[in-house]
Amino acid sequence: MTNMIQHHLTDALMMAYSAGSLPEAFSLTVATHISMCDECRARLGAFDTVGGALLEGTDEVAMTRDSFAATMARIRAARPEVKPAPRRAGLLPAPLQDYIGGDLDAVRWRPVGMGVRQAILPTSKAATARLLYIPAGAAVPDHGHRGTELTLVLQGAFVDQVSRFGPGDIEIVNEDLNHTPVADIGADCICLAATDAPLRFRALMPRLAQPFLRI
């Protein structure tokens, strides 16, 4: 599947993820894409290497006199490391399963109208991450964005004014675009979407509903 991915992360997102300056919801989306995309995983290695080179080249600030002994004491006092959880089988990549608390069948969906369902994932407030379930052939209401929206396809596909997005593809949209994603007719579409500002729906009803539904 990884070779089929057409829409990748930008340098700016990749660098911000490597530097650690993205809001948690964006980091989750980036980490999930990289879990599905070998090419972006390799690019992340390069950006982390930039971070390593900067660390190597930075000035030094002296540690306190007893710092080495204090660190050894920390090591001796630490409990043995818990083995990392084995890679989970399932439809969804591991970072997403961590936030859901399970695979796709553990998602607690809420209807948001016209057959579309969503589930908001627990992240810091600076940005929102949510799963969207769009029935085959259905549309997410036409909306614009005040900030940036990342949409990662997990299953199925959607089409909007920009392109077609299939599994593993990520669409990066800013405030310039009003778009109406429509799920492919072939299968229901499941996406992970992250926004750093509330969406703006152009039709009246969704805008009234927005504060209540936290779209």
Binding site: A19, G20, E24, G45, A46, T49, L55, D59, S67, T71
Partner: protein, 218 residues
């Protein structure tokens, strides 16, 4: 990793010259007579051995050498990110303790010691300064081969060194912004506010810097 630096950018037609012949060879052929091993490469491979000694023998002397080199740099990194001296000291100790505890997870065919330590320090910073989790990509490896190929290790360390040199050679205005992006915990818009530079200027300088790095790694 060899092609990773060329892949910083999403695939796009490149006007850059074709890669040097050495980059097209398999890793095993890379240590031919034309290969120059610099003092920095020697230092990089020494850090790799130190981490292996911690993993295999709980070697405190090896840990002390890593500590002497990296702990003051981690502390500086955290202070530039906004931590005060006390918090930076504490976090630097924790990062070094994590290095000890996770020494078995270090893969010298994928990262230099500095790169690996940077990722630990970055994650500690996100936790300490932002109180956020750091979602990580699913790990592909099912366990690291006990003895990585030494040619692969050397090649990776040399590439890391080459990138360091390329960063040091960046024009001052570009290098400062790359450092800010990695060290300051600020988004591009926040850097714009802090420096008074227009956002477009920041974005274009960073793009130019990445183009130069890409070029230097060809």
């Amino acid at each position: 990793m060899y092609d990773a630096l060329a892949l910083m950018d999403a695939p796009a037609p490149s006007p850059l010259p074709p890669p040097r012949a050495i980059r097209t060879h398999g890793a095993g052929k890379r240590s031919g007579p034309g290969q120059v091993t610099t003092a920095k490469d020697m230092e990089n491979t020494e850090w790799v051995s130190c981490i292996a000694a911690i993993r295999d023998a709980r070697d405190e002397a090896a840990f002390a050498r890593l500590f002497g080199h990296f702990a003051p740099r981690i502390k500086a990194f955290l202070m530039r990110s906004g931590a005060d001296a006390t918090l930076a000291e504490e976090c630097a100790q924790e990062v070094m303790a994590t290095l000890w505890q996770k020494a078995h997870l270090f893969d010298p065919t994928r990262a230099s010691a500095a790169t690996w330590i940077f990722t630990i320090a970055r994650n500690r910073r996100i936790d300490a300064l932002r109180k956020q989790k750091r979602p990580e990509p699913e790990d592909l490896t099912w366990g690291i081969a006990p003895e990585p190929d030494q040619a692969d290790v050397l090649a990776l360390q040399q590439e890391s060194d080459q990138l360091s040199a390329a960063i040091a050679a960046l024009p001052e205005k570009q290098r400062v912004l790359i450092e800010k992006a990695y060290f300051s915990d600020l988004s591009h818009s926040e850097i714009a506010e802090q420096t008074g530079l227009p956002l477009g200027t920041i974005k274009s300088r960073i793009r130019l810097a990445l183009d130069r790095l890409r070029h230097a790694m060809k």
